[in-house]
Symmetry: C2
């Protein structure tokens, strides 16, 4: 199943002009593929998709598919402000060899439900690839209600949702509400690394993971414990991640994972300006959090 298991969302290393460094990207992708993640979520929010041109996004997809050699499927994010641009990006992703699509309702003028529905219908109908709804209110400022998700789940090719995980005590009720409203074969997965262990224990099928894009081995350990329903082992492993989760919450996973990639020597890339690299004091805190993970 494409939209199940651990999906690793790497950063997309690029130079200050927005040119993707496919060699550094390949280093991250090979780590994920060799660790055995279920899929790679290319060009997600962590992968800076909204800051890259159409041609660079196409280059990144082709490089990823080439590097992973069909062993690990690539799910490509294709969000854009305009519907015609998102359609073009979906077709590029298909032509470039992506196995699936991830679509967020990126907005400038805030969108209403009908606009999002028609946007998704147009984009999902533009290729034959399966499409996952990317519900990420922190960046899109749009939240999917269950009624809209249910309507979208009735459209051809729309087969999954990447939903923001809630704190563990709220997850069983939330997951049940989604599960009972959506078709049985509709895949419900979660993002927001620090809350995802609880979401998997509650029944989530997929972890769309920032940390797995950089450190797939410990992320897989955590995912497997949660998938097995082993609460004690999940909590034990999760404690090693907690300092990193605290920094994700405080400074954003996007900024922190870029700093972590620099610290681990896996990429020299910084985020696209206006987003700034972490201040030296915060970088030291990321180093400390990585140290706690190393003892896992």
């Amino acid at each position: 199943m494409l939209f199940g298991g651990l999906s690793a969302f790497p950063i997309t290393p690029a130079d200050p002009n927005g040119r993707v460094n496919v060699d550094e990207l390949a280093v991250l992708l090979r780590r994920a593929g060799e660790a055995g993640v279920a899929s790679v979520g290319l060009l997600g929010s962590t992968g800076s998709y909204m800051y890259l041109t159409r041609s660079e996004r196409r280059r990144a997809i082709e490089a990823a598919v080439d590097c992973l050699g069909g062993g690990t499927p690539v799910i490509a994010s294709i969000g854009a402000l305009r519907t015609d641009d998102a359609i073009a990006l979906a077709r590029d992703a298909q032509a470039g060899g992506a196995a699936g699509l991830l679509l967020a309702p990126v907005s400038y003028t805030p969108l209403n439900d009908e606009e999002v529905f028609q946007h998704f219908a147009a984009v999902a109908g533009a290729t034959g690839l399966p499409l996952c709804i990317y519900d990420n209110p922190g960046t899109t400022h749009f939240s999917f209600g269950i009624e809209l998700l249910t309507r979208l789940a009735g459209l051809p090719n729309i087969v999954a949702v990447k939903s923001p995980a809630l704190p563990a005590p709220d997850m069983p009720a939330r997951h049940q509400a989604l599960r009972s409203a959506l078709p049985d074969d509709f895949a419900i997965g979660y993002a927001g690394d620090w809350n995802v262990p609880g979401a998997i224990l509650a029944g989530g099928l997929c972890w769309y993971s920032v940390v797995a894009g950089l450190m797939p081995v410990p992320a897989l350990k955590l995912m497997k414990a949660a998938q097995a329903g082993n609460v004690a082992e999940t909590e034990r492993i999760n404690r090693h991640f907690e300092p990193l989760w605290a920094l994700f919450r405080e400074l954003s996973s996007y900024r922190v994972i870029h700093a972590a990639a620099n610290i681990l020597g896996l990429s020299s890339a910084v985020p696209p300006q206006p987003i700034l690299p972490l201040a030296p004091d915060d970088r030291v805190r990321v180093e400390a959090a990585l140290g706690v993970m190393a003892s896992l």
Copy 2:
């Protein structure tokens, strides 16, 4: 003074592929120029800037400057997700003949104050044009605190702010807080048409106006009454706008003003998809609101 008086923000008519219709744009600009607005705010949020390519934005600026013939200055919005793109747009605006710049901190990954500061410093320093800070939390999801505004006001070329107007009872304290914190020659203007009459009565120098981009004559009547401090006349005129303001609040000024342009026969353009034209029932309500204005 460039950032004072009534600034008219027209829609940017474009075809479904995002090609600007410069003839329809010229119709709107001539109306504004002939009515005697202080400036034209081209490619604002109302002008769909985030949905247009760099080359189309450049075309729109050149057409506007050509059409207005230097009689009415053009303030061009240059917002972009990437700092280098915003710099390129600022240089295009200068080369195209714009008199000033309007810069919003457009975001996907939410930005922090230091990132916005450095973004503005880089863009403001890229041309010799005066720049107005575009504080529009409804679309950018970033709010400028007074401390950040004060820092930005100390940079070369940054000379004005376009601030979201608050309801009338809150405006005197808000305007005084901004006025006392910012340099004496820093121009404080307001947007959010339905609240702006109160903001001008409170001392605001500029009305960055959606309605003036389509109906500059009644907008000027309202602006002049408020600038003269004539509360009774301001309220009398504003009552004719109130049905339109109610629709702006409910459906967004962006959608409503596009429908109004269609109804008045001034443009056949609809917003770029995913944004949809108003439903027929809502369009009828816009017609009724325009009827109330016609009796002004």
